[in-house]
Symmetry: none
């Protein structure tokens, strides 16, 4: 289970990384049931990324893998091409969604949006590292 206290530590770690790279982010945490647990939009972060951060977190838990990996299997011709149409438009297939793992078990996920794919991924990984 992901507690409120742990969710906030995940977000704080993401915010620290975002400040380090100088890019404000939207950061969302969902629990094991894909339900939103905590969210923050840093000052100056994109408004269009509120939805994306939440949905990246949803996607990473819904399929128990990072959105980056899912995206690598969802290009035209790939085995999951078209998956982004499912789940009422909530499936995000680019970098920034990472599962949260505690004692080898996926207990939730973090989703980050507000910069480039590389930036989003680095912030998500820094946030997720708190759980390990």
């Amino acid at each position: 289970m992901i507690t409120s206290e742990k969710a906030h530590r995940v977000i704080a770690a993401g915010e620290a990384k975002a400040k380090e790279i100088g890019q404000p982010m939207n950061i969302a945490v969902v629990d094991a049931g894909t339900n939103l647990k905590a969210f923050t939009r840093m000052d100056g972060a994109w408004l269009g990324s509120i939805d994306i951060a939440i949905n990246k977190a949803f996607t990473a838990k819904a399929f128990d893998l990072s959105t980056k990996e899912l995206g690598q299997n969802s290009q035209p011709g790939d085995q999951f091409y078209g998956i982004q149409e499912s789940n009422h438009g909530r499936v995000m297939i680019f970098a920034g969604g990472v599962p949260l793992v505690v004692d080898g078990k996926i207990v939730g996920a973090v989703g980050v949006s507000g910069g480039s794919g590389v930036q989003d991924q680095s912030v998500a990984e820094a946030a997720a590292a708190v759980c390990k």
Copy 2:
């Protein structure tokens, strides 16, 4: 403008009140543009109230008044009856959404959901009081 720092203080004040009355809550803060700024779901709070807390905050800023007051004008026969069908189902017409006022100006709103109408309202008012 509502900063990330202020949004978190609003939520912390709401959490403190929720703990005081012994009812876990979902608490959301939106900015002047009705866009989500911060959110938390306290441990044990209702899952169905994630959406409601966010939408109460949306509603309180979208119409610049509390959802409790809006609800009092939206019952069958009232002047705003039917307003809950607008804005893609995002308009909440029961207590728990309160505008955030700084120096006499509405800069955002807080939405609270997880208990009775009276409980939600008391937590939202305690959260909003931080801004004054």
Copy 3:
């Protein structure tokens, strides 16, 4: 946690009750995260009730109480009037959704639709009784 095996026993108990009262039903079971675990539409049951059964189960877990009780607080003038607009139309406020309780803890919910409110409720209660 509600296992697949337990979900099927809940449905089987509901089906038995539905046959006893001679009314074919749609029966859905969701887990603690409100995610669908199992569903069946008995032969002859209403097609419009597929969605309703699933959403009654969603609602009963999302608010940790029966849809019958929720409905009693959601009539015009009541504290939760308007709640049915939230959660993207998934909140059902009439009888037939009942939480599943194991060892005093709510682990999911069952939703039943296909007959009158009294019939739906009796089948849902018979289904939920399996968990006790």
Copy 4:
């Protein structure tokens, strides 16, 4: 017509195959009208695949062919490219949805999601074989 009894046998055959290959699955059955007849989520199966399994079954009956074949005609440049935008996002264009054929007539479809495309397809084919 696909009876409730037959739908459950289709799902049971799919579950048996899923256990054999060691990959938990979401399995859905729809009738000739594309309406959900039965569904199960095996313990440990992906939450994001609930919607996908149901929509693969929908798609396979809606177009009376497997989602794998449909997908082969829906890549960029193909005759059906863009079909996944139709039907409110319910059209799935990757493997795992297979029509159910009885006496040479399509009476419904099964949709499977929870593993790789190859795994989903093998489970769907094993499930559909029950009808023949």
